[in-house]
């Protein structure tokens, strides 16, 4: 007799009760909480309505020390924003102008954004790490006349580049502690100027707000180009407001959102706009103080990149390992139980990674097994969840209802870990060009291993990248084309207007409203999207660096020892190479090897190969540090036309990736050790 069933039920309800609610219930919850979620036409309107509705509630909190934060209320922020907008207008900013905004996370950043939106202009944001070449390109390409700079250092850099920036007229310095050079305005002066004008009855800002059209840009974001110059992504007010309305989730003005991502990144911006739409408070934290801030702020919601979850995971595991042996055992028992419990729960709710269709009889046959396991585990899971896992959750503040991961692929073991300890991680998928969310898991649709179903009003197509055939939704294919792999195309209100002053590229990217993402994906049998990789060659490292593999591969293939090769490293810390060696060349140089396997076991041969790679991709040859190959593996069979190669002898990367997943996995699992 299981006395503890109820006990477990509690625990269960703790984190999963929401998952278990039906769609209908979600609608009910939404309607009660949604009362206070703003549905605005443009961002200026959103800011205005937020000030009216949430007035004295804190909109942003700025950290001064661990237990001392400065709140800024919605009404204050809006008022200051109006002053700034008026100041900007008097500096000559016209409606639909592009205003530069160079800097990182700080309150003055969001205030500047308020000012820019409220005077009907669009901002062009970039972080402090922008290079001089990018600065010149962006300012000239976007036609920026007025710009904000965060620090004195940035200000000096721009002034020294002034010769190359003919159109730039005004610079406004954000940091209140920095000293402004001559000709540079301080933010507080512009604010004061605006405040005086408004006192005198200036209402130009209100006219500007009324004049904003849904199709106007709110921002022009330059993404680091994979080849050549940065591209300016034009995002409209509708793009962003559709996101604040369509994102799943039921938050209200009691929510505390901890912010750590770079503020100018579209992922962080959408979260901040979303937070404003329900009246929550955004607490600006930083990577260095995150652990402490999580405990003090007890966030209910937060968004971050995979790297942060990896770090948090490391820290938790380190904490467990440092604890008393009895506690370690308890943790492992708790984790094991949770795993068993959740996997049965996912089975019942049909929320597991369903890559293949499951016939009803198979499901019926498995049902008793899961039911028995679920019942057996339930009481113990409940107890351990309360006694052990709750402690782990308290390490993250204890109030997290959900977290969002985006901006890169979340490693599956990290994903499972957090969901099993009861911190629901909702992985999302998107890109700057889609402002950014295309799909995201919700608490009701938490399928680990996928990026959830597309958000409201958004359509997804899967298209064969080589032939252009429609794979999903395609009625002539089994299951309408689910489990067919191909390129993801997106259509919806969040799709950008285009690339600024680059119609050619815009036409290549968007056709008939469908945006080609360049990512490979598949629709699972429970209608979630799973990302498989890139179909474009570009490799994005976990550090965010873009690596073009082709030049490196071409360079490597010039070596006498290398027949064919492919560079890998998507979402990894460094790049590696898969190499088809020229056996004869090694034999010529006196190495005894009959097969490639022999070669791989021969330390001398490996040393030769390593030196060869190092020589070919050295900095002297023009390769950047992140383009250095840290490790490699030899492949035994050559790439063949029709299999790994196209008719034009181009590598089919996704084919090779699916053929050698274990080789690639092993390369990166122990690659760190060899990194010297």
């Amino acid at each position: 007799m299981y006395v503890y069933i109820c006990f477990m039920l509690i625990q269960h309800s703790l984190n999963t009760s929401i998952t278990q609610e039906t769609k209908q219930q979600e609608v009910i919850i939404n309607s009660t909480f949604m009362k206070h979620r703003i549905n605005a036409e443009n961002l200026a309107q959103l800011y205005k309505t937020a000030a009216e509705r949430f007035g004295p509630l804190p909109a942003f909190a700025i950290r001064e020390s661990a237990l001392k934060w400065r709140p800024v209320s919605y009404s204050d922020l809006f008022e200051q924003g109006l002053n700034l907008a008026t100041g900007l207008i008097s500096l000559g900013v016209k409606a639909r102008d592009h205003v530069g905004l160079f800097g990182d996370n700080r309150f003055e950043w969001i205030l500047s954004d308020y000012g820019v939106q409220l005077c009907g202009a669009a901002d062009v944001p970039r972080g402090r790490d922008v290079t001089d070449a990018e600065l010149v390109y962006i300012i000239n390409h976007a036609g920026i006349e007025v710009t904000f700079v965060e620090t004195a250092q940035l200000q000096d850099r721009i002034i020294s580049l002034k010769q190359e920036l003919p159109a730039l007229r005004e610079i406004i310095l954000l940091d209140p502690k920095a000293t402004a050079s001559s000709g540079v305005h301080k933010l507080e002066d512009v604010l004061e100027m605006g405040a005086m004008m408004r006192l005198d009855g200036d209402r130009q800002a209100e006219e500007r707000i009324a004049g904003i059209k849904p199709d106007d840009l709110f921002t022009l974001i330059y993404t680091s180009g994979t080849t050549g110059q940065p591209k300016g992504v034009m995002l409209t007010h509708t793009n962003m407001t559709s996101q604040t309305i369509n994102l799943p989730g039921f938050h209200n003005c009691n929510d505390r959102v901890l912010s750590v991502l770079p503020i100018w990144h579209i992922f962080e911006r959408v979260i901040e706009m979303y937070t404003i739409s329900f009246g929550g408070c955004t607490y600006y934290s930083s990577v260095q103080t995150l652990g402490e801030d999580m405990k003090n702020v007890e966030p209910t919601f937060m968004a971050s990149a995979p790297r942060l979850w990896e770090k948090l995971h490391e820290r938790i595991i380190r904490g467990v390992k440092a604890s008393h042996p009895v506690r370690q055992i308890l943790f492992h028992i708790a984790y094991f139980l949770s795993q068993q419990y959740k996997s049965s729960e996912y089975f019942f709710t049909d929320k597991y990674l369903k890559m293949n269709p499951q016939p009803w009889w198979k499901r019926a046959a498995l049902m008793p097994f899961h039911a028995v396991r679920w019942l057996l585990v339930l009481p113990w899971y409940g107890f351990f969840n309360a006694a052990v896992l709750e402690r782990i959750r308290l390490g993250a503040g204890g109030s997290l209802q959900a977290t969002i991961s985006g901006g890169g692929a979340l490693p599956i073991h990290i994903d499972r870990f957090f969901n099993n300890v009861g911190i629901p991680v909702l992985e999302g998928y998107g890109m700057t060009e889609t402002s950014p969310v295309i799909s995201v898991r919700s608490l009701n649709n938490l399928v680990v291993g996928t990026v959830g179903p597309p958000v409201c009003d958004t359509e997804i197509k899967i298209v064969d990248p080589d032939t252009g055939d429609l794979l999903y939704p395609n009625a002539s294919l089994p299951d309408k084309g689910r489990s067919q792999r191909g390129e993801i195309w997106v259509k919806g209100p969040q799709v950008m207007k285009g690339y600024y002053k680059n119609e050619e590229l815009t036409r290549q990217t968007i056709a008939d409203g469908w945006l080609k993402t360049g990512d490979l994906g598949v629709i699972t049998h429970n209608d979630c999207l799973k990302i498989l990789g890139r179909c474009k060659a570009t490799i994005v490292l976990s550090s965010g660096e873009n690596v073009e593999p082709e030049p490196i591969e071409m360079r490597l293939q010039q070596s006498q020892f290398i027949d064919q090769c492919m560079i890998v490293g998507q979402d990894q810390k460094f790049i590696g190479a898969l190499i088809v060696p020229v056996l004869v060349e090694f034999q010529k140089s006196g190495i005894q090897a009959k097969t490639v396997e022999d070669l791989a076991r021969n330390p001398e041969a490996m040393r030769v190969m390593r030196n060869e790679i190092r020589r070919m991709t050295s900095a002297a040859n023009g390769f950047k540090s992140y383009e250095q190959i840290r490790d490699f593996r030899l492949l035994t069979s050559t790439f063949e036309v029709g299999n790994e190669l196209t008719n034009l002898y181009k590598i089919k990367r996704h084919v090779i990736e699916t053929k050698y997943p274990h080789v690639i996995g092993e390369l990166f699992s122990n690659g760190m050790a060899k990194q010297q």
């Binding site: 007799m1 006395v3 503890y4 069933i5 109820c6 006990f7 477990m8 039920l9 509690i10 625990q11 309800s13 703790l14 009760s17 206070h36 509705r53 949430f54 007035g55 004295p56 509630l57 804190p58 909190a61 237990l67 001392k68 934060w69 400065r70 709140p71 209200n252 003005c253 009691n254 505390r256 009246g279 003090n296 702020v297 007890e298 209910t300 008393h324 009895v326 506690r327 308890l330 409940g382 107890f383 309360a386 006694a387 109030s399």
Partner: protein, 352 residues
């Protein structure tokens, strides 16, 4: 119904004694002198809880015994259970039901001390008719003696139970690390032993479950449920804020089972001892289930007011204690806006 077999063998009794020791030690390890000071600083919630624990609960137990027509031994056990102090289990349930853990701890602390005085008094007041019945039964079978409640023994066994609590508090002072481990172990041991007792009852006295009259089950389950219900509404009557209502409700319904075992084992003898123990075991079993269900319910129901409580608390922590959180008009239900006990957020109350 009479028990013709002994419910517990000697080794079971030793096991039970060890469990009581471990649990009470763990309870002590979770208490600090600050908890006692907190009771004196904010006596209101504790006072309401006190009335609800030592006033309402024993009366409920008495009423249930009469209405259900329980056998006198069961009736005495039920009243004994009704007059028990709160245990640490209620603190944990309160935590998960989004109630005020601070109040729950204060109530546990206060009631554990006051039980020394209150339990004997309550037993004297309510058990009169049942002891008379017992005496009548015994004399009917030819015995000369009369049944009396062993008040002296009860007090001394209570003192005996409080010893490990004191030891736990000392342990906490000396080594917080060990205290934490003791606290964790206690929860686990409690569960294991109750499971063991049930299992042995099943295997050795399987028929017992069938023999036990249904009204005994109703009494064992009902006393907890009625405690939750009355605790909740009684504190509402005094305008307590919902997080305190949940704490008082759970504290009233969940009693300190191990104390019941100790008192029964140390102070009562056969023929009533086994029956009383049986009821205590049934109560301990069912209370875990019913409080889990209640906690689940409270957790859902209390989500909104807890979020508000938490948010204002964190605002005061980060923005200074004078910061006042103003919610938009119509966001807070009237009950939360006008709650006279907004004292949860004392400064805010002052400013409004």
């Amino acid at each position: 119904m009479e028990f013709n077999t002994q419910l517990l063998y000697a080794h079971d009794q030793i096991l039970l004694a060890v469990m009581i020791f471990v649990i009470m030690l763990g309870m002590g390890a979770s208490l600090t002198p600050d908890d006692f000071r907190a009771v004196i600083r904010k006596p209101r919630g504790v006072l309401i809880g006190f009335v609800s624990q030592f006033g309402i609960m024993p009366f409920l137990a008495f009423g249930l015994s009469i209405v259900l027509g329980l056998h006198p031994a069961f009736a005495i056990a039920l009243i004994l259970i009704g007059s028990l102090p709160g245990g640490t289990t209620s603190n944990m349930f309160t935590y998960f039901s989004r109630g005020s853990v601070a109040l729950s701890i204060s109530m546990t602390t206060a009631s554990t001390l006051l039980a020394l005085l209150m339990m004997p008094v309550i037993l004297q007041v309510y058990t009169g008719i049942f002891t008379d019945q017992l005496t009548a039964n015994m004399q009917a079978t030819g015995a000369e003696s009369t049944f009396v409640i062993p008040t002296g023994n009860i007090i001394s066994s209570l003192i005996l139970v409080l010893l490990p609590v004191a030891m736990g508090m000392i342990l906490r002072r000396k080594s917080p690390e060990w205290a934490k481990t003791a606290e964790d172990t206690a929860g686990f041991v409690g569960i294991l032993v109750i499971l063991y007792l049930l299992l042995t009852a099943f295997t050795r006295h399987g028929k017992l479950f069938l023999q036990t009259p249904v009204e005994v089950y109703i009494g064992a389950v009902g006393i907890g449920l009625a405690g939750f219900l009355l605790g909740y509404w009684f504190s509402r009557l005094f305008g307590m804020y919902p997080i305190f209502q949940r704490a008082i409700s759970l504290e009233t319904g969940i009693q300190n089972g191990p104390v019941a075992f100790a008192v029964i084992l140390l102070s009562f003898t056969e023929p009533v001892q086994s029956q009383m123990l049986w009821l205590a075991i049934l109560y301990s079993t069912f209370i875990v289930i019913s409080s889990s269900v209640i906690t689940l319910y409270y957790r859902k129901k209390g989500r909104f007011d807890w979020d508000i409580y938490k948010n204002t608390q964190i605002h005061n922590r980060l923005f200074g204690k004078d910061y006042v959180t103003h919610y938009p008009e119509g966001f807070l239900p009237p009950r939360l806006v006008n709650d006279p006990s907004q004292g949860t957020i004392p400064v805010q109350k002052r400013n409004q």
